[in-house]
Amino acid sequence: MSRRLLAALALALTAMPLLAAGFTPLDRAAARQLTEAGSYRQPTVVALWSADCSHCKKNLQLLAGLVKRNKQLRVITVAAEVAEAGHVPLLDRYALPGQRYAYGSDSPEAIAYAIDPSWAGELPRTFLFDGAGGKAKLSGVLDQPTIEKATGLRF
């Protein structure tokens, strides 16, 4: 494929409307950056969820409360599947101010591997950054002290 064609493809891709408004689609390169500790200069939580995951709702609820009380905390969500119209109300109810990502058209296994090679797809999966190079990753429902400690909000 020629470089001009590639550039045209890239342009066409970015100009395409997203399937579900507000979700940025991830490819493997963007996914890798998302879970690199060096990407964050402030306490940040990257929370993976899916429409099917009832346990994920508990974490999103907890994070919604925490982010309201801690202005320096950033919460980024990642739907571990392609976002559809139904994803919008599922996430809107938590009113999380951070960026919303979802899987894009790249191979889902490549995206998952880029997010974390040691993650087997279980949800919720959460990445916690203290903004100073520290990173923790945890599966399942979390409690408040765990999140506060791993993000450096509490010592």
Binding site: A8, D52, S107, P117, E122, L123
Partner: protein, 398 residues
């Protein structure tokens, strides 16, 4: 730019469809061009008594049935199973399923998502002649718009059809009564007329995991077995194995794995079970054991408590979604494993009942793929794998 537009127009208009393998997704024919769309590759394959290979997939609001008379070299144009369109689950742990009733009737089951999140109804359609399907029926009597999903379909030599699924009616009742309930439940329904009608469903067990596929097999004495991921108190996501009495009630429900993965989460990773000609139960499953997530193989020995014999990891740390079958004295396991660039289809074959295995490198794909299956034709085993780019792949196993 002109070149790009013309290709995309061709793709959009379906003119290039004829160039794509059956089961491949037209919109994703060229890498990077497709706008993100939900991948619903869930497919099942079965050899019919006449030797033809049948595949069930989802296309829009229809379950589609493909036939091959040459073991997957060429395929018929697909035929719709459900004449009236309806929603169908075919992503991740979901797929339409195929079975033959003892009287020769072809059965297709699927989960129909309803309006509310997590809700679904278990549907089943029957074709007496293997071609012309009657309108699908809902297997359960419970009409509530709640979870009835992840069905498993099993037929017996006396023309029974047994369907088991994940059911949240007990969880919903607990919520309404302001009490708590661990996980979901497994319910099953029995048909004694080859799937034309079903008796009222019964509960097999409380406290199953919520969104992992269920597996089924006939035990050494012909007794129906169902195996699923369970939630043992307080939150250990090991597996349970149920033996059913002739009326469909659970004769026993036993813990079948002992890896003690404690997590309040959704593994999205269900087991597979098969019973070989000598009556030995072989299973593959995913669990986190001692902090490491792996696919495991083991033999589930019967007794007052099930003992797992020969438990061993299958593949590497990225192995996922294994399936297995036996035929002609062979036991075959297939799974997929992402290698950092591509998804590999790998296999293990044993000629001595699972004591020793030979490793197989079967195929690879660049894009998305369904979970692989092992299917059987008389004494031969095959891997069946649907990939986004290549479509249906049928591979003879040694």
């Amino acid at each position: 730019m002109a070149k790009f537009v013309s290709i995309s127009r061709l793709l959009a208009s379906g003119l290039l469809l004829g160039l794509l393998a059956p089961g491949a997704l037209a919109a994703d024919g060229m890498p990077g061009m497709a706008k993100a769309a939900k991948q619903e590759l869930g497919a099942s394959a079965i050899f019919a008594p006449d030797g033809s290979l049948l595949v069930a997939t989802k296309q829009g609001e229809h379950v589609m049935l493909y036939r091959s008379r040459d073991e997957g070299q060429s395929w018929s144009a697909p035929a719709a199973v459900n004449a009236r369109p309806e929603a169908i689950s075919a992503d991740g742990e979901n797929r339409p399923k195929l079975a033959f009733a003892a009287d020769g009737g072809l059965l297709v089951s699927w989960t129909r998502p309803l309006g509310k999140p997590y809700s679904g109804a278990i549907r089943l359609a029957r074709a007496d002649d293997g071609q012309n399907f009657a309108a699908p029926l809902t297997v359960h009597k419970d009409p509530a718009e709640i979870t009835h999903r992840f069905e498993s379909l099993l037929t017996t030599p006396d023309n029974k059809v047994i369907v088991a699924w994940i059911d949240k009616r007990d969880l919903e009742a607990a919520k309404a009564g302001k009490s708590t309930y661990r996980g979901a439940a497994i319910y099953s329904a029995v048909s004694t007329d080859g799937g034309r009608s079903f008796q009222a469903e019964r509960k097999l067990a409380d406290h199953s995991c919520e969104c992992c596929r269920i597996t089924s097999a006939l035990d050494h004495d012909g007794t129906p077995l169902f195996m699923w991921r369970h939630v043992y108190a307080p939150n250990e996501r090991d597996h349970a194995l149920a033996r059913l009495a002739t009326d469909g009630t659970p004769a026993s429900v036993q813990r079948a794995t002992f890896d003690r993965w404690k997590v309040d989460g959704c593994p999205h990773h269900g087991p597979s079970l098969v019973v070989d000609g000598a009556g030995v139960r072989h299973a593959v499953w995913f669990n986190q054991k001692d902090g490491e997530g792996r696919v495991f193989y083991g033999r589930l020995l019967p007794g007052a408590e099930i003992r797992v014999e020969g438990q061993r990891p299958v593949g590497g740390p990225r192995a996922a979604h294994a399936d297995l079958a036996t035929a002609g004295g062979k036991l075959a396991i297939v799974w997929k494993e992402f290698d950092g660039e591509r998804t590999q289809l790998r296999g293990l074959v044993s000629g001595d009942g699972g004591q020793r295995f030979d490793e197989l490198q079967l195929a690879a794909t660049e894009g998305a793929s369904d979970q692989p299956r092992v299917i059987r034709r008389q004494d031969k085993l095959y891997a069946f794998w649907r990939t986004e780019k290549e479509g249906f792949r049928v591979l003879v196993l040694p």
